[in-house]
Amino acid sequence: MSLAKAIETGDLAELPSRRDEDWRWTDLRGLVRSLPPRSGTYVGNLGPGLFDALAEESVSIVNGENRTTLVLGSGGEHVVAVRYIAGPGAGAHTASPKLEVEKGRLILLETLEGADAAYLSEIDMTMKIGREGHVERIVLADDADEAISVLRWDVTLAPGASFAQTVIATGARRQRIETHVAHPGGGASVRLDGLYLLGERRHADITTVVTHAGVDGTTSQLTKGVVSGQARGVFQGRIVVEKGADQTDARMGHHALVLSDRAEVDGKPELEIYADDVSCAHGNTVGAIDEEALFYAQARGIPEPQARAMLTEAFVGEVIDRIEHEGAREAVRAWVAERLHRQMEKAGEAA
């Protein structure tokens, strides 16, 4: 049951609904009344990509047509940009790229770009990272207002591998970003971070499942969100520690700022643990901007709107700071600052 299956079969009953526990806050069946036709091949100029200057190589997957398998086995460091683009017009499309990194360090800079249309899209990516493979990926999911967009990533690590991911989601009519990591332990490490910036009526759902199957693995997760207007942010994180996966160290944090009374944040940080020699923790906070910090800044002569903006930027900055690739980190920081500024302005107008 998935959006991709519904698009492929044309059967609306394949859409996940709120009755499916993992989709309780992102109901697609109640929302999609009919499926648009399949998106056609897009011919036209794609324009420049955000990460063009940083990447050695750039791959574009337009309207899901291009099915790519990327294999990297040579070692060394590579920076690759991948652009998923939904062309104009309300179409439906799927893509299922595959990636294998046997050896070496790969920096994957991905953008999800949508023309202003009510498209339906599901991109399912599978990724395998070998013993000497290290992947850091940054994903800017910038879908259109009216889009329904699902991303599902299945990542399998070998012992010794490392995987780090930072997702920045700005939502859509429904945007769901799902990451499943098969974690073998054996010194492998995972960092799974997320940031959602949602205004107006946008909806984003960041869902992660990390399954620790072997001894000695680490996972560190930090997701933050800022919601305003009538937006809705969802975070579902599940860490599973299977029997025998001792010495697992897993931490998960989710913190959200709610800036308007009509915005909503839903969270479900889950721990499912079947091994006793582990150290697992999760923390979750939801609230408004700290009034005391706001007061302090104002007392120092900073006008309220700026103080608010400053505190919000500092709040999301913690996620951006964890990006290791410097060029990408700064590009993301600038992009996020601009988005946040627009969001805060709109929220200010509405208030």
């Binding site: 009374d261 006793d276 697992c280 923790a281 939801v286 609230g287």
Partner: protein, 488 residues
Amino acid sequence: MAAVKETVQSVAELERYKHGFVTEIEQELAPKGLSAETVRYISAQKNEPEWMLQWRLEAFERWQALEQPHWARVDFPEIDYQDAYYYAAPKTKAGPKSLDEVDPELLATYEKLGIPLKEQAVLAGVEGAPRYAVDAVFDSVSVVTTFKKELAEAGVIFCSMSEAIREHPELVRQYLGSVVPVSDNFFACLNSAVFSDGSFVYVPPGVRCPMELSTYFRINAAESGQFERTLIIADKGAYVSYLEGCTAPMRDENQMHAAVVELVALEDAEIKYSTVQNWYPGDAEGKGGIYNFVTKRADCRGDRSKVSWTQVETGSAITWKYPSCVLRGEGSSGEFYSIAITNNRQQADTGTKMIHLGANTRSRIISKGISAGHSSNTYRGLVSAHPKAKGARNFTQCDSLLIGKDCGAHTTPYIEARNASAKFEHEATTTRLSEDQLFYAMQRGLSQEEAVQLLVNGFVKDVLQELPMEFAVEAQKLVAISLEGSVG
């Protein structure tokens, strides 16, 4: 080092499950199976008025359309609802007027369980010892309620549910089903159709209930289910503290306890509800034990009302229970303190719901889960704030402790914030007992088992201190007994 002494002493007193005996007593059973006839039979046995029968029949009809839910992280074979007795009562002469008329077998049972049914016995105890009134429920009926007279002088009504239906129909009709609607869920609906007995408490405006109230539930009859129904109402400015305890004989078959407990707190009222649940947990291989499928909910209807749930869950083969608070009144508050211990093959899926509807409502959740043996222990909870719940606040802490390689500990919290001024904080940790601390305690001369008890008691301390004193002592011992044999 009083705690150590206490712990060492409780270890010395360890017994497998000391409440596992059966009382040989003549009993009346409803015909086996469940039908509208069974519902009529139960209602007739209790001499209920027509409206109550209709209420039950309606519930039964709705129940037939419902399906048993499967979302909890517990695993059990399909239940054959036709293969059980829905009503079992010890045969008695019509309505005992005093304790002297109660079957001596029953009195002996309660004495063996350490439940004081004789008021004098309590009074003759140590001077200044706190007294508490007891309602004793044996299978499907309440056998006796103590201190009724003294409570009546204060205006407090404390009696069995059956009696309340007869004596105070206006109160029962007003509040029954108003917190947990008839068809709220599968088990609550079943309970509404066939509920047997439980306690009814009404505390009038401004009255502080002069003593602790307590109900002791005992399942005795084989192949039967117990369907407890309890309703507690604290009127404006009233206060009541209520305790509940439960035990059952050791049997190879599974028995069901499907209860519904409703609490109503009006303006400025406070209800403190404590449970020590010690149903028979089944043997080490998971044979037998009670299925404890319970719906407990409090409605903080009035402004500034407060409800506090404290539970120590050590028994039952399966526990499926979420004592909740609907925080409707402005400034009302809810608390949930829980210790859930699973050992051997026990399964627990328990937690709470804090539903913030009113402005400036507050809630606090402290949950300590301990799993040992081959057991599975899940915390499942919901904290939600409605758009109107301005300034709602919640703090949640769930800690899990794992003892052994074959058990599971899970945390599944749901958080739904729907306004900007709600402030929710949630923390959870899962760890095992610290090797360093164990080593330290053992190096000081404690055996491994004693050292574990000591550390576990430290782990659950935050919750134990919320219990009334006598219960806290009892609970501490229970914690030790439940974990017996879990190390080494």
